[in-house]
Symmetry: C2
Subunit: 206 residues, 2 copies
């Protein structure tokens, strides 16, 4: 873990030297991480976004992104439940990132292990959904503590599920007072303009 | 891992000696594992069901079960992403299981790590949802390969999501030809009678 953090720190410095801003995207399987990344990129004012796709197996998400002309590097972890700094170092070379890029790293779908690993990112984005239920902060606290921004996805399904928003937000704020939360819908695109604005602001604060 | 499997094998033999049938319940965070366990228990013809609840933190699910009069032992893994044989051995003592019990072990919400660990169970039940998307078999193959039975939960939301059932089933059957799949809804209870019947049949085949 010490070795991972040392390498991640070096990568963060290298990203900074090239003006590359890195977002580590975390969430449970099926939370809508890829769809969220696509919507955010389509809402950005600046260009040059790229994605590293982390999956146990398959290149389904990378194919989706490449069809949209978004430069993508697939990582298959072959069973590993998270990404770590060495695999990101290697994948970053593979992407030949342009200076000034915005790099999204989609982590393995998992609310536990990825939260423990720093991979050189500037912000951790945690994607949650109203279909997962409102008790997630209480059960998976580390991911909530470490997040810099929350997306609450699938809000188009709110009328059809029993999501207790007050209970959810109480749990979120007990763990994390500062990170903003954006309500979004990957299905209809609602809310991602605000997320893109937040990233651009965080990247280049006035 | 060898030590884990040895202990799990011993526990399986001890469960058999006491006529205890054990179901290891796997699924992503928010898949509806606890709700499924409750519905199944309420549909069983035989009594004496008990539950071991595995969570990183919190006892929210154990409280739900105890309110319904279901004997429950909570395990908090304090960060660990799965249950293993030693913690189940300990929790089983805590429950003082009656001979002939049906024991559900709800694993940590995670589609990756829990699939790798045998914990003395007779069957692995994998809970999936239509809201997670239809690509899960392709991305998390090990859990699908190892499952003895699949629940496809949240089917009440099918009209509101883009779930490609044919693509999903193609992925499931490429990995696992034999395990039955039951469509269920934790929200309205639909389908759990069939699941309870399957468990009772699997437990005492004619």
């Amino acid at each position: 873990m010490g070795e991972n953090d040392r390498l991640a720190g070096e990568m963060n410095a290298a990203f900074d030297a090239h003006g590359i801003f890195v977002v580590n995207v975390l969430g449970a399987p099926g939370a809508g991480k890829t769809t969220s990344i696509i919507h955010i990129i389509q809402n950005l004012k600046s260009g040059n976004a790229a994605v590293i796709e982390g999956d146990i197996e398959s290149d389904i998400d990378a194919q989706k992104l490449e069809k949209l002309g978004i430069p993508t590097q697939q990582i298959n972890t072959q069973g590993a439940c998270h990404l770590d700094a060495p695999v990101i170092a290697q994948a970053s070379y593979g992407l030949s990132l342009k200076d000034g890029s915005l790099l999204f790293i989609e982590n393995v779908g998992n609310l536990v292990c990825p939260a423990e690993f720093y991979i050189g990112e500037h912000v951790k984005m945690l994607v949650l959904t109203v279909t997962e239920g409102s008790d997630k902060p209480y059960k998976y606290p580390l991911a909530f503590e470490k997040a810099d921004v929350f997306l609450l996805n699938k809000c188009d399904l709110l009328p059809y599920v029993d999501f207790d928003e007050a209970y959810f937000m109480k749990g979120v704020r007990a763990l994390n007072k500062a990170a903003p939360l954006f309500k979004v819908s990957g299905r209809n695109g609602q809310g991602f303009g605000e997320v893109a604005k937040w990233i651009e602001q965080r990247r280049s604060p006035k």
